[in-house]
């Protein structure tokens, strides 16, 4: 999510200065989103320039308090009402690696699948450990964790499907590298 929209949504709840905005944003996302204070101020300046927020006089501590304008409120509502276009962000590195391995002959795609599956499974194990921690029952955090778990599961299922398809295909020809035959396979798979 864009910092811009996040700040607008928080400001709709009430006027606030930059540092307060940063901590509220982090708190409502269960601390899953760490925000850089410098970025917060730059973004607030842009929002002000675009007429979406106004800066009021500084408060007792000398901090500038920001306030959302009607246009800003409207923009926040518009943003929430617009579904995320997944088609536009569909290019992910894992599918790219598998597809490139299939067409390039640089690496056996089965090996790419196997490596990725190990890494994703470790991640899923770590997420599951976090989920089992009862003391962390913050709702925003739990929901976000569920999403990460489901994405990791979906990726593992997809890799399973790729492997099943590759298994019925003839073996892939892997072109030997001319220069560095001693290349660390770990490096190649990064």
């Amino acid at each position: 999510m864009g910092l811009r929209e996040g700040l607008l949504c928080i400001l709709v709840r009430g006027d606030a200065h930059g540092y307060r905005l940063k901590s509220e944003l982090e708190s409502v996302t269960g601390d899953t989103w760490q925000v850089n204070i410098g970025q917060v101020y730059t973004t607030l300046q842009r929002l002000e320039r675009d007429g979406l927020v106004e800066s009021a006089d500084s408060n007792a501590d000398g901090r500038i308090v920001y306030k959302v304008t009607d246009r800003g409120h409207q923009e926040a509502r518009q943003w929430l009402a617009t579904p995320v276009d997944l088609a536009a962000s569909g290019r992910d590195e894992i599918s790219l690696k598998v597809l490139m391995a299939m067409v390039s002959g640089v690496s056996d795609p089965r090996r790419v699948v196997e490596k990725q599956r190990g890494a994703t499974m470790t991640l899923l194990q770590d997420y599951t450990t976090l989920k089992a921690d009862d003391f962390n029952d913050d709702l925003a955090w739990q929901l976000y964790l569920d999403r990460l778990i489901l994405s990791a599961e979906a990726e593992l299922r997809w890799l399973e499907r790729v492997e099943a398809r590759l298994d019925v295909m003839p073996p892939f020809e892997v072109t030997e590298s001319h220069e560095s035959e001693a290349t660390d396979p770990e490096e190649v798979n990064r």
Binding site: G30, D31, T32, W33, Q34, E114, R117, G118, A119, M121, T122, L124, Q125, D126, Y127, T128, T129, L130, A132, N136, W141, Y144, L145, L148, I149, A152, E153, L156, R157, E160, A164
Partner: protein
């Protein structure tokens, strides 16, 4: 250093010979440490159940050896093997396999009594085991008075009663809905955190993820092992 509670050393299993020869397992090396939950995954036919049967002395390997509590199963007599199955390793299956004419507590105490334990002592151990799976209040119910999840809890209590500390579980959540499956995995996890060890076959990645290590089999061989990160993630890692 802690000794593994169960070790497989270059374990292989071959069915048939000549053109009909099938290598169900090929040179498996695997250690199960006390307190560890290990999941075994892989497609059907990859050797998961064969591996579990070897670990539990339900089947003999063609090559290699299985060592339980420091003793090689290959050197044991039939009686000793039967004893290992009664006192060292417990089983949990997809179908809970509880005897319908016995109550929950009797399902756990009967095998102990058959092994020569006094009824009072057997009942005491069975009750303690039921308590550990949070089923103390249902000791006198019959299996048909329990839900699927509760029956599986009783099966786990039976698998880990008394001196037993190794649980071998074949798709233990297979017949259960998602929420109940999760509670069973949480239970397995907590029993392992309390010192037991479990080897669990599952085809569900989400369930395998509860394990410390996930062993992936392919054509009877270990294709890879994924380990939980030793230092757990913190919320800051996810931003």
């Amino acid at each position: 250093m802690t000794e593994p509670i169960l070790s497989m050393r270059r374990v292989g299993k071959t069915h048939g010979s000549g053109a009909q020869r099938v290598d169900a397992l090929v040179s498996i090396d695997l250690d199960l440490m006390p307190g560890e939950l290990v999941a075994v995954t892989g497609r059907s036919g990859s050797g998961k159940t064969t591996l579990l049967n070897m670990a539990g002395a339900l089947d003999e390997p063609t090559t290699g050896e299985v060592i339980v509590a420091g003793q090689s199963l290959a050197t044991m007599s039939k009686n000793e093997l039967a004893r290992i199955r009664r006192v060292a390793v417990g089983y949990v299956f997809q179908q809970f396999n509880l005897l319908p004419s016995l109550t929950a507590v009797e399902n756990i105490s009967l095998p102990l009594e058959l092994d020569g334990m006094k009824p009072d002592e057997a009942r005491k151990l069975a009750e303690k085991s039921l308590e550990e799976v949070e089923m103390a209040g249902m000791a006198d119910r019959y299996p048909d008075q329990l839900s699927g999840g509760e029956q599986q809890r009783v099966a786990i209590a039976r698998g880990l009663v008394g001196p037993r500390s190794v649980l071998l579980a074949d798709e233990p959540t297979g017949a259960l809905d998602e929420a109940t499956s999760e509670s069973i995995l949480k239970l397995l996890r907590s029993r392992c955190d309390a010192g037991a060890a479990a080897l669990m076959v599952t085809h569900e990645p989400a369930y395998a993820a509860w394990a410390d290590r996930v062993v992936r089999l392919r054509d009877g061989r270990i294709e890879g092992i994924s380990e939980r990160t030793k230092t757990p993630l913190t919320t800051a890692d996810l931003s």
